[in-house]
């Protein structure tokens, strides 16, 4: 390992966040309970710091630490998305944690460490580095999900997530060890080289590849490894659910793409069938099971499984179209998902969250603004123009057709018509029925700001996405050292 200045500079964002995150833990005992929100603001500053550091690395392609760690436009894009998502999450958390009486200072530290884990994931040039990133993120998630210590559901969700997550990690690690056993290397470029020579397609490589795919499918909650999602999403504090569903998933997709396009691209024909199956299964499970949910968090959990199904379509064929499609999808998905969870966590009924779809009944009468924002998020998630979700799906289908999977695009659009039903059901509840019970919608300034940003981005990405498209186009470069 060589700690030359280049290596240090290249990992500066991660170093900032780790140091400042640790500092948060140290500061926590000295901050009085009333002033805990200062810690949140501190965390936002830490993220902005890291963001500036990442901006400084823009446009560079650096293999660091002998290729164990890669800084390239692709990873920088994902890091920017991670910062944005985490900042928005913190804005949503500040008042939420107070109301739920779970405002502990460590929360922000865990949030930052999870972000560091994700950043390591999207930058990993080596399967062990990658594993460290995944575990750092997951461990923070386990804690965050169980944050409501007094709530049985929260603890149960945390425990379930921990057990299943540990399984998934073990399977992933087993896959990595098989790959290492077969090829003698665990760097992505080394694996790519090994697999591209024709003699390498041994069962051991296959088994390793499939097992790593299982690990990733678990992380992006693609079927058939999605079972944990509804329970965990429902049980976790809503703000954590939003964070996992948006930022966590974005990062997992980033690393999924890098590993499969860089290391395994030579035997694409062998894994593309698996991806197709995962895509179809996820779209079916996500869109159809969501139809019968009454809890909106569970519904969004299934919807996120469905969205994972659309997104994995972009992994099928390494091309500019697919890369753009996935990045645009992730970028849009972040805002609309966070926004939808944001509305849920702000809506309250007698001290409880408005988690049931029936809590949304007649919302337009009481609070037209909340209803309208939710309408934007729902139609965008359903992929109806003029919102960002439409263009995101559009590019995914374009990538599918470009890759020669027109039939898969047809399956996708048909299932998204099925899926539209459960989104418009929420709109129906809000606009077409009369209110029965009082749900309060009183965002404070922070929440209002976060909602404004997410809603505005959802609309802008559908109507005038030009600046973001330019930014993504400059990030369409994956460095293979």
């Amino acid at each position: 390992m060589n700690f030359s200045p280049v290596n240090i500079m290249g990992t500066m964002p991660e170093i900032y966040l780790t140091v400042l995150g640790s500092l948060l833990f140290l500061m926590e005992p000295f901050v009085p309970a009333k002033k805990r929100s200062l810690l949140g603001i501190f965390a936002i500053f830490a993220l902005v710091f890291a963001m500036i550091a990442t901006l400084g690395l823009n446009g560079k392609g650096l293999p660091l630490y002998q290729g164990l760690y890669i800084v390239d436009p692709f990873s920088n894009f994902f890091k920017m998305v991670i910062y944005l998502g985490t900042i928005l999450t913190i804005l949503f958390s500040l008042p939420y944690l107070e109301k739920e009486e779970i405002h502990v200072g460590e929360y922000y530290g865990f949030l930052l460490f999870a972000a560091v884990g994700m950043m390591i994931m999207v930058s990993a040039g080596d399967l062990i580095t990658l594993f460290l990133g995944i575990e750092l993120m997951s461990l923070c998630f386990y804690v965050l999900v169980g944050l409501k210590r007094n709530s049985l559901r929260s603890v149960e969700a945390s425990f379930k997530y921990f057990l299943l997550g540990a399984f998934a990690a073990a399977i992933f690690l087993y896959g990595v060890s098989l790959l290492y056993g077969a090829s003698g290397t665990e760097t992505l470029s080394g694996l790519a080289q090994f697999i591209s020579n024709p003699g390498a397609l041994r069962p051991m490589v296959f088994a390793g590849m499939i097992l790593t795919m299982v690990g990733f499918a678990f992380k992006v909650s693609a079927a058939p490894f999605h079972m944990w999602t509804p329970d965990v999403y429902e049980g976790a504090p809503t703000v954590v659910t939003g964070f996992m569903a948006s930022v966590g998933k974005v990062a997992a997709f980033g690393v999924f793409l890098r590993v499969f396009w860089v290391a395994f691209s030579a035997n694409r024909d062998h894994w593309s069938l698996l991806i197709v199956m995962a895509a179809i299964l996820s779209m079916i499970v996500g869109n159809i099971v969501a139809l019968v949910q009454t809890n909106i968090k569970r519904m969004l959990a299934y919807s996120s499984i469905g969205h994972a199904g659309y997104a994995v379509i972009a992994l099928l064929n390494p091309s500019r179209e697919s890369l753009f499609a996935l990045m645009f999808y992730m970028f849009t998905y972040l805002f609309m998902t966070l926004g939808a969870f944001g509305i849920i966590l702000i809506l309250r009924r007698k001290g409880v969250e408005g988690e049931e779809i029936s809590d949304f009944v007649g919302l337009n009468k009481k609070n037209p603004l909340a209803a309208f924002l939710m309408l934007i998020f729902m139609f965008s998630l359903a992929g109806i123009p003029p919102f960002g979700g439409f263009l995101a799906k559009f590019y995914i289908f374009m990538a599918a057709v470009h890759a020669g999977y027109t039939w898969l695009a047809v399956v996708g659009v048909l299932l998204s018509a099925v899926g539209a039903y459960y989104y418009i059901r929420v709109v129906m509840a809000m606009y077409m029925k009369d209110p029965v019970e009082t749900v309060e919608f009183a965002p404070n300034r922070m929440e209002g700001m976060a909602l404004f940003v997410t809603a505005a981005m959802t609309v802008i990405l559908g109507i005038f996405p030009l600046p973001f498209v330019h930014y993504i186009e400059t990030s369409l470069a994956i460095l293979v050292p």
């Binding site: 753009f324 309408l375 047809v410 048909l414 709109v427 129906m428 077409m432 993504i472």
Partner: protein
């Protein structure tokens, strides 16, 4: 042409949308509904007057797109914000802007709940509908096409009748499911047609036959649901019956035309060979729609349902005209689209007048209205006669042209379609005999004749019925060149150019 230094088409699309923000301050206020109505009416009237400038500035001797605007919208995928109109879109746009003030007037007393939101929806919908007719980039077209669903969904679902939620969801899902296949064929066209979404450049290329057939079928579903053609029509009666009068008028007069517009703008010029291949199939469906729709209309007790099924029948004439694919047929289809917009819109407005008074649409509840509401009855008779294509009214021109056009090539189909005219006379005269004449029902005793706002909504339509009926030529000449060009594009490739 520009207005306030904004290109006119962009202005027409976004003026109602932006102007609808004026209504936001009245949200959740009581006692301001009057102001809201007048503002909305003012916006739609201004929009209509502005759209007349298209008629003035349009050069009817050109088949090319006019008033063209083209900007790069999203660089990835070469998606443009491209607008332009030819004769076909021109008449449909003017028809749209002409009808929108009527929809506001018909909601004058009918809508009491949350009026500002209703008007905002109507105005946003107007912008999106004009966008559909102007867009010359396929993705932009699709964005407007789908975006229309949101306000229409809300209009049916929030201000509709007792079964409105079911109707709204059915409308939304049916249309969405149909349109999504259109999306896939748009994407496929992009890759096959040379990495562009430009509608003009995608037309007139001769794609491979298999591709043409598949893409034609995918688009067929989208447009057939919208029209609606025979097996896809089941959403229509539900949506019409439950929608408020304004919603029914917009649905019947404007949104149904979009399916036919889609066939004319995309299916025929892009897939001429597949269109020829499917002609027998399309003609069969059209004839079934004409006869089936008419028979269903005969059996209805609810007036809105009756007119809804008559729409299915009349739109069958439109698709018949489109797919015989000669100049008379297509011109007749366009005339029929325009006239159906005017006449059926007017009939829905008339039913709305009755519904506002007695809250019933059942034929059995009425009778002898000629005594109580003579003016109203006269207008209703005129519109009904127009709908059954009496010579001298507008619909006669369209149906006659379609029948001539189809008789030249498909005599049997044409004769079968003629029965539709007879059947439409049956159900419409039956309706008149029950409502206008017939036994005087005491229940109708307290029904005043037309109010001023109803005059405002019906009078322009009567004028149009008679003017177009007597002088169809100025209208026909608007789109003659475009139709001739379209028919030219449909010709099979000359052998010499094949290699």
């Amino acid at each position: 042409m520009t207005f306030l230094s904004v290109p006119i088409l962009t202005f027409l699309i976004f003026f109602p949308v932006v102007a609808s923000l004026l209504l936001l301050p009245f949200y959740k206020r009581t006692g301001t509904d009057g102001v809201v109505k007048w503002i909305a009416l003012g916006i739609t009237v201004i929009e209509f007057l502005l759209s007349l400038s298209l008629l003035i500035g349009n050069n009817p001797h050109l088949y090319q797109m006019q008033f063209v605007e083209n900007h790069l919208w999203i660089p990835f995928g070469n998606i443009h914000y491209a607008l332009g109109i030819d004769g076909i879109s021109l008449v449909l746009i003017v028809m749209t802007t002409f009808l929108m003030p009527m929809t506001i007037l018909t909601s004058w007393v009918g809508i009491s709940k949350n009026l500002p939101l209703f008007m905002i929806n109507i105005l946003v919908l107007e912008g999106a509908m004009i966008g559909v007719f102007c867009a010359t980039d396929f993705v932009l077209f699709y964005v407007f096409w789908e975006a229309m669903l949101i306000p229409m969904y809300l209009i049916i679902g929030v201000w509709g009748g007792p079964n409105r939620i079911y109707a709204a969801i059915k409308f939304f899902l049916y249309t969405l499911a149909g349109s999504l296949l259109l999306l896939v064929s748009i994407i496929a066209l992009y890759f096959v047609g040379g990495h562009t979404f430009d509608i003009t450049r995608l037309s007139g290329q001769h794609y491979g036959m298999t591709f043409q057939i598949l893409a034609f079928l995918a688009m067929f579903v989208a447009f057939a649901v919208k029209i609606p053609m025979f097996p896809f029509h089941t959403w229509l009666p539900d949506a019409h019956v439950e929608a408020p009068t304004a919603g029914s008028v917009i649905l019947a007069s404007i949104m149904l035309k979009m399916g036919a517009y889609g066939f004319l703008r995309f299916s025929l010029p892009m897939f001429p060979d597949a269109s020829h291949f499917f002609t027998p199939f399309m003609l069969t469906l059209s004839v079934i729609a004409i006869i089936w729709g008419a028979f269903m209309a005969l059996a209805q007790e609810d007036m809105k349902k009756l007119i809804a099924y008559s729409s299915v029948s009349h739109m069958g004439v439109v698709t018949l005209g489109i797919f015989v694919a000669n100049v008379q047929g297509i011109e007749g289809a366009l005339m029929q689209m325009l006239n159906h917009g005017i006449t059926t819109g007017a009939l829905f407005l008339c039913i709305g007048v009755l519904y506002d008074r007695s809250h019933s649409r059942l034929l059995s509840e009425y009778g002898g209205l000629a005594k109580q509401m003579p003016v109203y009855s006269t207008l209703l008779v005129i519109f009904a006669l127009s709908s059954l294509a009496l010579p001298g009214t507008n619909s006669f021109v369209g149906e006659f042209l379609v029948l001539i056009g189809s008789f030249k090539t498909h005599a049997v189909v044409s004769s079968l379609a003629t029965t539709g005219v007879i059947l439409s006379a049956m159900y419409l005269l039956y309706m008149l005999s029950r409502v206008v004449w017939g036994v005087y029902t005491p229940k109708n005793y307290a029904m005043p004749d037309l109010h001023a706002y109803e005059w405002g909504s019906l009078l322009p339509l009567v004028v149009m019925v008679i003017v177009i009926g007597l002088l169809p030529n100025p209208v026909l000449s608007l789109f003659h060149q475009s139709v001739a060009h379209l028919v030219g594009q449909m010709q099979p490739v000359p052998l010499a150019s094949l290699h």
